[in-house]
C-alpha cells in the first residue's frame, strides 16, 4: 500500500499547488503508516523534482517523453494509472486544477476508485471510514464525503494547506516509462496560447488577489488595480458584470460561474458583493472591501473595509505598500 501524488510541472518547475499537494500526500502517507511516491507530469528538471523531498516525498517517477510537456488527457491518465498499478497505490492525490480534475475523473473509472474533488482538509480515518471535507454549493458550504471504494482519489483545492519545506531533504528521481503509443496522444493540443498576467501571477495560484467591479467605471481605470497588484505581487480579478461587458477577459472573472479562488488575501474594489460573487471568493482567508456605498452587502463578509472612493483609496494603498517594501 502506498500514496501516489501527481505533481504538475511547467517550464521545469513544480507548480505551487503541486507543492501543496505533495505536502498533503506525504501527510496522508504518514497517517496511513506508509510512504508517498510522486509521479510528475509536464516539463520538469531532475533537480527540481528531487527537491520534492522537502515536502516529504521519498521517490519521484518521471517519464521524459517530450509530448508530455503539454497536457494530454488520455496520455496523462494512462501514465498515472500505470504508476498507480506499479506502486500499488491505494490513495492518489492531485491538485484540484483543470488538469487534476480532468485526469482524476477518468482515473476514478479506470482504477475503480472513489473520488473527492475540491478537498479542503486532510482526510479523517476514524471509525474505519475514510472521510474527506470538501467545498460545496460554490463555496457557500462544506460536505464531509465518505470514500467507500478500496481505492481513493483526492483532488486538493489550492491554498487549502501550506506547503512544508524541510530544507536539505531530497527525493530519489526514477526514470519511468508508461509505454505510451501514438494513439494516446490523439487529443494532444494543436496550439497553446498564453495570456498576459498582471505581474506574472496566475490567478488560480495567487496568494493575494486584487479585484475590481463596476465601481471602477471603465477598463481605462484598471491601471489602479494593476498598480496595487504589482506592488503586492498579487493576481488580478474582476466580477461577472465586468467580464460580461468585456472590460476584462473572462479568465479574470471570479464568482459562482467563474473561477472559485481561496487566496490568503482578497481585495474587492468597487464590488457590491452579490451572493454569486461571494460564492466564488468567500473561502479567502482575509477579505478587504473598498466601496463608497456603506450599505454594500460585501462589507458583511469582509474582515477589513474602507468606505470611500476607489479612485482616491487605491493610489494611497499602492503608495503604502511601496513604502513598506
Amino acid at each position: 500500500m502506498s500514496v501516489l501524488v501527481v505533481v504538475e510541472c511547467a517550464e521545469g518547475e513544480v507548480k505551487k499547488s503541486s507543492l501543496e499537494v505533495a505536502t498533503y500526500g506525504a501527510q496522508v502517507a504518514a497517517m496511513l503508516g506508509t510512504t508517498a511516491t510522486a509521479v510528475a507530469v509536464g516539463e520538469a528538471t531532475e533537480a527540481n523534482l528531487a527537491k520534492l523531498g522537502e515536502q516529504g516525498i521519498t521517490k519521484v517517477l518521471y517519464d521524459a517523453e517530450p509530448r508530455l510537456k503539454d497536457f494530454v488527457n488520455n496520455a496523462y491518465t494512462k501514465l498515472i494509472a500505470t504508476a498507480a498499478e506499479q506502486e500499488g497505490a491505494q490513495v492518489l492525490v492531485l491538485a484540484n486544477s483543470n488538469i487534476g480534475a480532468s485526469v482524476g475523473s477518468r482515473l476514478s473509472v479506470r482504477l475503480k476508485a472513489s473520488l473527492a474533488t475540491n478537498a479542503v482538509e486532510l482526510p479523517k480515518t476514524d471509525g474505519g471510514q475514510f472521510v474527506v471535507k470538501r467545498g460545496a454549493f460554490s463555496g457557500k458550504a462544506f460536505s464531509d464525503v465518505v470514500l467507500s471504494g478500496d481505492r481513493k482519489i483526492i483532488a486538493v483545492k489550492k491554498n487549502s494547506l501550506e506547503a512544508q519545506h524541510e530544507a536539505g531533504k531530497t527525493a530519489e528521481v526514477v526514470a519511468f516509462a508508461a509505454q505510451l503509443s501514438d494513439a494516446d496522444f490523439a487529443d494532444a493540443p494543436k496550439q497553446v496560447v498564453m495570456q498576459e498576467q498582471t505581474g506574472g501571477v496566475l490567478l488560480p495560484e495567487a496568494e493575494l488577489v486584487v479585484s475590481g467591479g463596476r465601481g471602477m467605471k471603465g477598463p481605462e481605470n484598471w491601471h489602479l488595480i494593476e498598480d496595487l497588484a504589482k506592488a503586492l505581487h498579487a493576481g488580478t480579478a474582476c466580477s461577472k458584470p465586468v467580464s460580461d461587458v468585456d472590460w476584462r477577459p473572462h479568465h479574470e472573472h471570479v464568482g459562482q460561474t467563474g473561477i472559485t479562488i481561496s487566496p490568503n488575501l482578497y481585495i474587492a474594489c468597487g464590488i457590491s458583493g452579490a451572493i454569486q460573487h461571494l460564492a466564488g471568493v468567500n473561502s479567502s482567508k482575509v477579505i478587504v472591501v473598498i466601496n463608497k456605498d456603506p450599505e454594500a452587502p460585501f462589507f458583511k463578509a469582509a474582515d477589513y473595509g474602507i468606505v470611500g472612493d476607489v479612485f482616491d483609496v487605491l493610489p494611497k494603498l499602492t503608495a503604502a505598500v511601496k513604502e513598506l517594501n
Binding site: N73, N74, S102, S108, V109, L115, F137, L265
Partner: protein, 246 residues
C-alpha cells in the same frame, strides 16, 4: 450530428444555503430550482450548432426525479428537440456518469456536452467519467466549440491561457464561459415544448462510490474592521502586522 446535452437541476444562484436539522441533506423548502448555469452554455451552443448543420438534433438528458421536469421543459422551450429523464435522484458523480454513459451508448450520440460542473456539488467530475466509461476523448473545460463535419475544434482553458484542441466525434466536452450567450425561452418555444417528447427511463449501474456524511456552513465572520478612507495606508499596516497576510 446528434447532440446529447446533460443538464442538472440546481438551487437558484441567489439561494441562501441551509440544511435539514441533522445536516444530512440540503433544505429544499422554499427554494427555486433552475437549470445549472454552466449547463446553459452547453445547451445553447448545441442548439446553435444544430441550427447551423441541417438534420442535426439536440436531446436533453437529466438524471432526476419527476420534480425536475419543469426545467427539462424549459430546455425544450429553448430549442432542444426531445428529452430523456433517468428516473432517479442523483447519488454521486459516478452514478450520474453511469446513467449518461448508458443513454449515450444506446442513442449513438456524436457529441456529448454538459456544464463544467454543477453549482451545488461542484464536482467537475462527470465529464471525465463519461468519457472514460465510453472510451472517447474528453475536453474540459471548453470555452469555444466549432464543428466541421466530424471534426471539432475546441478552446480549452489552462492556467494562464488556453489550448486549441481538435478531436473527432464522438467526444465529451464540459462547457463554460465565454462559449456563447445563454438563451432564454420565447413564447413560441414555451408552447411547442409542451408537445415535444420526454422519455422517462429507469436507472442502471452500480451503487454510488461516495456518500455525503454531513453538510456544514462556513464559520461566521467576526465583523468588519473599518479604516478611515483619509488614512487608507493604515490598512496595509494592519494586513502586515495584524492579519499577517502580506
Amino acid at each position: 450530428m446528434k447532440f446529447l446535452v446533460c443538464i442538472s437541476n440546481v438551487p437558484d444562484t441567489t439561494t441562501k444555503i441551509s440544511f435539514t436539522p441533522d445536516n444530512k441533506e440540503f433544505n429544499k423548502a422554499g427554494v427555486q430550482f433552475v437549470i445549472n448555469p454552466w449547463d446553459e452554455y452547453a445547451l445553447t451552443r448545441a442548439i446553435e450548432l444544430k441550427e447551423a448543420n441541417a438534420g442535426s438534433t439536440v436531446t436533453v438528458l437529466n438524471v432526476g426525479e419527476a420534480d425536475t421536469e419543469p426545467n427539462i421543459r424549459k430546455a425544450l422551450a429553448i430549442g432542444a428537440d426531445d428529452a430523456i429523464r433517468v428516473n432517479a435522484a442523483p447519488q454521486d458523480a459516478f452514478f450520474v456518469a453511469e446513467q449518461i454513459a448508458a443513454v449515450a451508448k444506446d442513442g449513438g450520440y456524436d457529441v456529448i456536452l454538459m456544464g463544467k460542473e454543477s453549482i451545488d456539488y461542484n464536482g467537475f467530475q462527470v465529464h471525465g467519467m463519461v468519457g472514460e466509461l465510453l472510451g472517447i476523448p474528453t475536453v474540459a473545460p471548453a470555452m469555444k466549440l466549432d464543428m466541421a463535419g466530424t471534426t471539432a475544434t475546441l478552446e480549452r482553458e489552462i492556467e494562464g491561457g488556453k489550448e486549441i484542441v481538435e478531436v473527432s466525434t464522438p467526444f465529451v466536452a464540459s462547457c463554460q464561459q465565454p462559449m456563447c450567450e445563454p438563451r432564454i425561452p420565447n413564447m413560441r418555444g414555451i408552447m411547442t415544448a409542451r408537445t415535444k417528447p420526454l422519455k422517462v427511463v429507469a436507472p442502471v449501474g452500480d451503487p454510488a462510490r461516495t456518500q455525503v456524511a454531513e453538510f456544514a456552513l462556513p464559520p461566521k465572520k467576526q465583523g468588519v474592521k473599518l479604516i478611515d478612507a483619509a488614512n487608507a495606508g493604515e490598512l496595509i499596516k494592519l494586513l502586515r502586522n495584524e492579519a499577517k497576510v502580506i
